[in-house]
C-alpha cells in the first residue's frame, strides 16, 4: 500500500513539475504576476510529493518488503539498518529517485530563499528547474520505475553488493548528488539571465553561493568516494583516473573555474558571459557524469547498475539541455555588456589564467575519458586510457595554475604593479626551494617529488604570507586583532581553500613518492619489515558479523621495537551473494599510514598472501580536502554571500 502511494505521488509530482515549468514561463511571457507566483507553490508541492514518495521507498527498504522488485534485488533482511537505507541509492532506480529528490529540494530552497529576488528571475529559474524535473521524473517513471512489485515474492532478498557495504560509501551518493544536482541551480539561473538578457553584479551575488554549495558537496562527495576506494579496495591507492572518477572530477574542475570567474563578475562586473558559459558547462558535465556512470559505455572498474538503453535516454537529455543552453548562449550572450577594464597583470588577469587552465584541464580529462568511445566507433578496437595519460597531461597543466595561485591574491584589481611584489615573491620562492631541497636530499627523493613538494610549499607559504600581510602581522596588537575580526570571512575562506590545496599537493606527492609496499605469503608468527615498522602475524580467527562470516588476522605493529598497536585485516564472506571481500586494516597516523590486506589462504603450505603498504603523509590528502571544504563553508558564511542576499550596493 505504502509503495503504491509512493508510486502515485511520484506520478503526481510529474504533473506538478510540468505545471511548474509551463505556467511561470507563460506568466513571464504575458507578464502575468499571478502566473509567475505559482512557481513557488509548485516547487514546494513537487518537493513534498517526491519526499513522501522517497520515504515510501525507504519504508519498503527498512521493512525489507521483498514484494517490491527493487528491494528484493538489492536488499537482504539480515543487513544492518544503515546499509538497508543506503541500499536504496545503491542501484540505478533508487539513485535516480534520490537525484530527483535533491533536484526538487533545491527548487524548494530557491523559492524559499529567493523571496526577495526579482519575481521574474525566480519564476524563470523555477520554470527551468521544473523542466529538468519533468525530464528526469518521466525518465524514472517510464524506464526505471523503483516501485514495481513482483507477483510471487521471495522470502529473502538477493542481497546487496558487499563491497558497497561501507559507511563512507553509504553516504557518498547523497553528497555527490547534492553537488551534481546543485549545479542545476547555477545552470537555471544562467538560462534565466540569458532569457531576460541582463546580468548585473547582483545576479552574480545570487548565483555564487549556489555554485559554492554545489562545489562544497561535490568536493565532499568525491572525497568520500575516494576515501572508500582507499579503505575498501585494498590496493592502497585512492584515485585511479577511472571513467567514473573522471565523471565526477570534470564538473568539479568546471565548478572551481566558475567560482573563480564569478569573483571577477561580482567584483568587477566583467567576464559575465564566460561565467554563464561555465555554469552551463558545469551542469552539462554533471549530466555527462550521470550518463557515464549509468550507461556503462566505458570500461570502468567501479560503475554499478549500468544499463546501455537507459544511458541513451540520459544522452538525449544531455544533448537537449546542453545543446539548448549553448544555442541560447550563442544567441544572447553578445548582448551582455562587459564592464570595467583591466590590464593583463592584475587580479582579473590572474583569475582569467586560472580559468583558462582549469577549462583546459577539464577538456583534457574529457578527451581521455571519452577517447575509448571514439576509437571503438572508428576502428572497433577496445582501448582504455590509463593513469599515465592523465598524469602526464593533467599534472603539467596544473603546475602554472599553482604557481600563479600563490601570489595572485596579492595582486590588486585592474592594474597590479608587479615590482612591488618582487620582494615577497622572491622570499617565498627561496624559502620553499630551501625547505623542499632539505626534505628531498634528506629522504633521497626524485625530481617529480621535488617539483610536487616545491609547489606545495610555494602555495602554502604564499597563502600564509598573504593572510599574515592582510592582518598586518608585526603591527600593533590592537590593529592586528581588529583586522583579524574585521577581515571578511570570504578572505579566510579563500586562504583556507588554497592552504587545503597546498596540503593536498604535499600529501599526494609524498605518499606516492615515498610509498613502499610488500607483497608476500607468510605463516603464523612470521615477521615483516617495512620502513621502520615491524609487523608480526600473531593469530588468525574466525568471526561472525551481522551478514557475513570472516577470517580475521591479527598483526602486532612495532615501530623502532616499541609496540604501537595491532591491525586486524579481515576476509569477509557474504553468504547472501556468495562473495568474499577483503577488509584492509589501516593504522592512520599524522605522518604515515600503514595498510595491511589479508589475501587468500594458500592451502599447500598453510600460509597467507598478504600485502602491506607504507604511505607517508597519506592523511594529508584528506586533511587538504577538509581544509578546502572548510574554506568553502567560511566563504558561504560571509554575510554578502548568504543565499537570497539582495544587497545594498556598497559605495566603495
Amino acid at each position: 500500500m505504502v509503495t503504491e502511494f509512493g508510486h502515485f505521488l511520484l506520478a503526481l509530482s510529474l504533473s506538478i513539475s510540468l505545471i511548474q515549468f509551463l505556467i511561470p514561463a507563460i506568466g513571464v511571457k504575458i507578464n502575468s504576476i499571478n502566473m509567475m507566483k505559482t512557481a513557488s507553490l509548485s516547487a514546494y508541492l513537487s518537493f513534498i510529493f517526491v519526499l513522501f514518495s522517497f520515504l515510501a521507498l525507504l519504508w519498503a527498504y527498512i521493512t525489507s518488503d521483498f514484494s517490491v522488485a527493487l528491494v528484493a534485488k538489492n536488499s537482504h533482511s539480515l543487513k544492518p539498518l544503515i546499509y538497508k537505507i543506503s541500499g536504496l541509492w545503491g542501484n540505478h532506480e533508487g539513485s535516480l529517485l534520490l537525484w530527483i529528490l535533491i533536484l526538487t529540494f533545491y527548487s524548494a530552497a530557491i523559492s524559499y530563499l529567493g523571496k526577495r529576488l526579482p519575481l521574474k528571475l525566480v519564476s524563470l529559474v523555477l520554470s527551468i528547474q521544473g523542466l529538468i524535473a519533468v525530464a528526469f521524473i518521466s525518465f524514472i517513471l517510464f524506464t526505471s520505475n523503483p516501485f514495481i512489485r513482483v507477483f510471487y515474492p521471495n522470502i529473502e532478498g538477493e542481497g546487496f553488493n558487499p563491497i558497497l557495504q561501507d559507511f563512507g560509501l553509504a553516504i557518498h551518493p547523497p553528497f555527490l548528488y547534492l553537488g551534481y544536482v546543485g549545479l542545476s541551480v547555477s545552470f537555471s539561473f544562467s538560462i534565466a539571465a540569458l532569457f531576460i538578457g541582463r546580468v548585473d553584479t547582483l545576479w552574480v551575488k545570487w548565483v555564487r553561493p549556489w555554485a559554492l554549495i554545489a562545489w562544497i558537496f561535490l568536493t565532499i562527495g568525491i572525497a568520500l568516494g575516494s576515501w572508500w576506494a582507499y579503505r575498501e579496495l585494498g590496493w592502497g591507492g585512492w584515485w585511479f583516473w577511472d571513467p567514473v572518477e573522471n565523471a565526477s572530477f570534470m564538473p568539479w574542475l568546471a565548478t572551481t573555474a566558475l567560482l573563480h570567474s564569478s569573483i571577477v563578475a561580482e567584483k568587477r562586473d566583467t567576464l559575465k558571459a564566460w561565467t554563464i558559459l561555465l555554469a552551463i558547462v558545469a551542469f552539462s558535465f554533471s549530466l555527462l557524469g550521470t550518463f557515464i556512470v549509468r550507461s556503462g559505455v566505458l570500461i570502468s572498474v567501479h560503475s554499478f547498475a549500468a544499463d546501455p538503453s537507459r544511458g541513451l535516454y540520459i544522452l538525449l537529455l544531455l544533448f537537449l539541455f546542453t545543446g539548448g543552453a549553448l544555442f541560447l548562449f550563442a544567441k544572447k550572450s553578445p548582448d551582455l555588456k562587459s564592464g570595467s577594464l583591466f590590464q593583463p597583470i592584475s587580479r582579473e588577469g590572474a583569475l582569467i589564467i586560472n580559468n583558462i587552465i582549469f577549462s583546459s584541464a577539464a577538456a583534457t580529462v574529457l578527451v581521455g575519458t571519452l577517447y575509448p568511445l571514439f576509437i571503438d566507433a572508428l576502428s572497433n578496437s577496445k582501448v582504455s586510457v590509463g593513469p599515465p595519460y592523465f598524469e602526464s597531461v593533467f599534472i603539467p597543466l596544473m603546475v602554472p595554475a599553482i604557481l600563479i595561485c600563490a601570489f595572485s591574491p596579492m595582486l590588486s584589481w585592474k592594474r597590479a604593479i608587479i615590482s612591488n611584489l618582487y620582494e615577497r615573491i622572491i622570499a617565498i620562492f627561496i624559502l620553499s626551494i630551501l625547505i623542499t631541497s632539505i626534505l628531498v636530499l634528506l629522504h633521497d627523493g626524485s625530481p617529480t617529488a621535488f617539483l610536487g613538494l616545491f609547489l606545495g610549499f610555494w602555495l602554502m607559504l604564499g597563502t600564509i604570507y598573504e593572510i599574515a600581510f592582510k592582518i598586518g602581522i608585526g603591527k600593533k596588537l590592537e590593529i592586528v586583532l581588529n583586522r583579524i575580526v574585521n577581515l571578511p570571512r570570504s578572505t579566510y575562506g579563500m586562504s583556507l581553500a588554497h592552504l587545503g590545496v597546498a596540503v593536498f599537493i604535499i600529501g599526494v606527492t609524498v605518499s606516492s613518492a615515498w610509498r613502499e609496499d610488500i607483497e608476500k605469503s607468510i605463516s603464523l608468527g612470521d615477521e615483516i619489515f617495512i620502513k621502520n615498522y615491524k609487523l608480526i602475524f600473531s593469530s588468525y580467527d574466525k568471526i561472525q558479523g551481522p551478514n557475513w562470516v570472516a577470517d580475521k588476522g591479527t598483526f602486532f605493529i612495532f615501530k623502532n621495537n616499541i609496540n604501537i598497536g595491532s591491525l586486524y585485516p579481515e576476509r569477509r564472506f557474504f553468504p547472501a551473494s556468495q562473495v568474499t571481500t577483503s577488509e584492509p586494516a589501516i593504522m592512520s597516523r599524522v605522518f604515515s599510514d600503514l595498510y595491511v590486506v589479508l589475501g587468500e589462504k594458500i592451502t599447500e603450505n598453510n600460509s597467507y598472501a598478504i600485502r602491506v603498504y607504507y604511505s607517508p603523509l597519506l592523511n594529508w590528502i584528506w586533511f587538504g580536502i577538509i581544509l578546502m571544504v572548510l574554506g568553502g563553508i567560511f566563504s558561504i558564511s560571509d554575510r554578502k554571500h548568504r543565499l537570497g542576499y539582495t544587497g545594498f550596493k556598497k559605495v566603495s
Binding site: 582501448v383 597543466l397 594458500i602 600485502r611
Partner: protein, 149 residues
Amino acid sequence: MNIAKIKRRRRFMIILFCFIAISISVFLILNASRDSLIFFYSPSEVKTINVIEGKTFRLGGLVVEESFEYIVNTKVQFMVTDGVNNIMVMYEGVLPDLFREGQGVICEGKLDPNGNFIAERILAKHDENYMPPEVVDKLKETDQWKERN
C-alpha cells in the same frame, strides 16, 4: 591609452593565453597517448593479430574452470578463455576479491616469448555478476553466451 585600445589589448591577451593553453594541452595529449593507450584483446585476437611482444595490453575473458593453481607462494597461474582459444596467465601477487574460476576477468600485462601472458595487474569489478562487455561480445560471437539470472 584610450578605452578601445585597452579593450583590444585585453582581448588579444585572453586569446593569446587561450591559444597557449590549447597548444600546450594538445601537445601534452599527443605526447602522452602513445604509451598510455592500452588495447584490449581476447585470447583469440592475441593468437590471430600479432601482438607485439613486450607491449602492455589487457586480456579479457573467462577464467577456465579448474585451471587455477598456485606455483610458489603468491605466484599463480590460470587459463583465460573466450570459448575458442585459451591463454595461460601468470601472476604474482594477491588476487582481487571477486576473482573466481568461471568468472570474467581482465588482466593487464605483456606476452612472454613462450606466448604466456605475464600479468602485472588483475582488474576486478566490484559487481559479482560482472562480465567485461568485450568478453560478452566475444562470447556472443562464438555462441558461448548464456543469459544468466
